[in-house]
């Protein structure tokens, strides 16, 4: 019996020690290795995607490279499943995540958000040939979004954005039916079949909708963006020093216009200072 208790104690101790990095530990490792492994989500061009050579590319990737450069190290990239990043159980496999993640109170319990680096406007889109004129026309319609996303939360009226970063917003559409998909692109594929065939409208990020239109999807954006989603650089909980240093570098990149220049390069618009109000 005694042995079992000891064993359990030992296991608990191990769990307690491994799940929290010590202060300065991550920073020291990055500086010693001269490389920083950055997790990203390469399924969302132009924020982050895999180019034709199979290399990571996009706005997030450029931001990460610049951030690493200012730390004096090299950035390498990895694309684990989104849940593996949001679970917070990184196991030291990567030190930072720059994959357009929105800080939410739930995520803040397992992850640290040193700085917001840009905002994505979210908007509704409809089929090019559809006759909708304003967002009000979408009330009672079938609307699609990727499952578990902030867009789905917006449709469900359960969107919680951290007030510290995000401008206030209103729920402008009363959906009749919400259809969820694995990604936003699946919803666009359904809408592409024709107005109302499977779907009446969708909600996604403005850059993503523009990218789809550029690739011949018969879509158009309806009305103004409905909310601005703050997107943050993410580090594991525990290493305050690393977190502070990362935050300081991002602020520096904002102040000297680097972030803005990168945003214009990739999105064709300044999504950095969109801090609307």
């Amino acid at each position: 019996m005694m042995n079992w208790t000891k064993c359990a104690l030992g296991l608990t101790a191990m769990i307690a020690f491994t799940s929290f990095a010590q202060a300065g530990e991550v920073l020291d490792k990055v500086m010693a290795d001269k490389t920083m492994i950055v997790a990203t989500n390469s399924e969302y061009p132009p924020a982050s995607y895999l180019n034709s050579e199979g290399k990571f590319d996009g706005f997030d990737v450029d931001v990460a490279k610049e951030l690493a450069k200012r730390l004096g190290v090299q950035a390498t990239f990895i694309n684990p499943a989104w849940e593996a990043i949001t679970s917070g159980k990184w196991g030291g496999r990567w030190q930072m995540a720059i994959g357009s993640m929105t800080p939410t109170p739930a995520r803040a319990q397992v992850l640290d958000f040193p700085a917001v680096y840009y905002f994505t406007p979210a908007a509704f889109y409809v089929h090019q040939k559809a006759s909708y004129e304003s967002l009000k026309d979408l009330n009672g319609k079938k609307i699609g979004a990727s499952a578990g996303s902030t867009y789905e939360s917006y449709l469900n009226k359960t969107l919680k954005l951290d007030e510290a970063y995000s401008p206030p917003f209103d729920y402008l559409v009363e959906p009749g039916e919400i259809r969820t998909y694995e990604t936003d692109t699946n919803a666009m594929d359904d809408l592409r079949l024709g107005d109302g065939v499977r779907l009446d409208a969708g909600i996604s990020s403005v850059p993503n909708i523009h990218e789809a239109i550029k690739n011949n999807y018969p879509l158009r954006i309806l009305g103004e963006p409905v909310f601005f989603e703050p997107l943050a650089v993410v580090v594991a909980k525990g290493d305050k020093e690393f977190s502070q240093k990362t935050g300081a570098i991002v602020e520096e990149m904002r102040a000297d216009g680097t972030l803005k220049a990168l945003s214009i390069k990739w999105f064709g618009a300044d999504l950095v200072s969109t801090k609307a109000k």
């Binding site: 769990i15 034709s52 050579e53 199979g54 694309n79 499943a81 196991g91 990218e211 999807y217």
Partner: protein, 304 residues
């Protein structure tokens, strides 16, 4: 019900029935508006042509029939893919990446996993068949858990769960372990059924000859069991080939991951998914050929 079967014995009634089914399917498709004849007529003509084609091909010798029908089905598939209006330059540009990196990782992970899984399955089956309560319990518990839970969860347990205990494995070892354990569980049952299918009299005869129990297993039972084990194992390998795409959850650039993400970059996911599908199909086809040869080799004893 019995009446239906008696009716079906008449060839003409069978043909009418088949025609109705074909017509019912074909009428659902969109036909070009600029054709002079209406949809139902087109559907009827195509249904008639299909039946005429089947009827004519059946005059050929068996092998020729198979070749002709394979070719026709393949052409139909190609027409279906062609209707997506794919961008071939996009595919060709990314094909080397899919082939060298993608297939490389997919084959590496699947081949390692199937070998380890076979080892696990052999041990698992022997434990399952033993009279030792602990061995039996461990084996049945293992099979029950790994067959009964989703593979993705097992991948996460190993990749994200084990670090909680201080064991940090890289993506590929985690994936190989998860796949091996999961498929090992399915294959334990295959191995057990193979071993049990060898008549008891074989063991008894070997015992009478004075062979030790390990000799009986190794030299008498297993060689005969393998013949029965191979077809379902081949089945499992092909399933694993595709399930290995789950290691992409850990950022491994295997075939399915590359297909998904490369396609996403320019909203050309059909291009990449269809290419990946054809590659998977080709690999499984090669494996089917290999399996056929193995079956022939181990089936020698059944031929006289």
């Amino acid at each position: 019900m019995a009446n239906v079967f008696t009716l079906m014995q008449h060839a003409s009634i069978r043909r009418v029935f088949l025609f109705i089914i074909l017509f019912g399917l074909l009428i659902n498709f969109d036909y070009p508006d600029n054709w002079d004849i209406s949809g139902p007529v087109v559907a009827a003509i195509i249904a008639g042509l299909i039946m005429l084609n089947m009827h004519l091909v059946l005059y050929l010798p068996f092998r020729a029939q198979v070749v002709v029908f394979w070719f026709e089905l393949l052409t139909l598939f190609m027409v279906f893919f062609y209707s997506f209006d794919l961008s071939y330059t996009f595919i060709i540009e990314r094909l080397p990446l899919l082939i060298f990196t993608g297939i490389g990782y997919t084959l590496l992970v699947s081949a390692l996993s199937i070998m380890i899984a076979s080892g696990i399955a052999l041990v698992g089956a022997l434990m399952r068949l033993s009279n030792n309560g602990a061995a039996f319990a461990i084996s049945t518990f293992y099979v029950s858990f790994f067959r009964g839970t989703p593979l993705l969860l097992q991948v996460y347990l190993i990749y994200l769960g084990l670090p909680q205990l201080g064991i940090i494995l890289d993506a590929i070892p985690s994936g190989v372990i998860a796949l091996s354990l999961c498929y090992g569980a399915y294959m334990t049952e295959i191995f057990r059924s193979g071993i049990q299918a060898v008549p008891k009299a074989q063991t008894e005869a070997a015992l009478a000859l004075g062979l030790k129990s390990w000799q009986i297993m190794l030299k008498v039972v297993l060689p005969q069991a393998i013949r029965i084990i191979i077809p379902p194992t081949g089945n499992n390998f092909i399933a694993m080939l595709k399930d290995s795409s789950l290691v992409s959850a850990m950022g491994v650039m295997e075939l399915m991951y590359l297909a998904r993400t490369l396609g996403r970059s320019e909203f050309k996911h059909f291009e990449m998914l269809i290419t990946a599908a054809l590659i998977y199909w080709f690999i499984s086809f090669l494996f089917e050929l290999l399996q056929g040869r193995l079956e022939k080799h181990f089936g020698k004893s059944m031929k006289r």
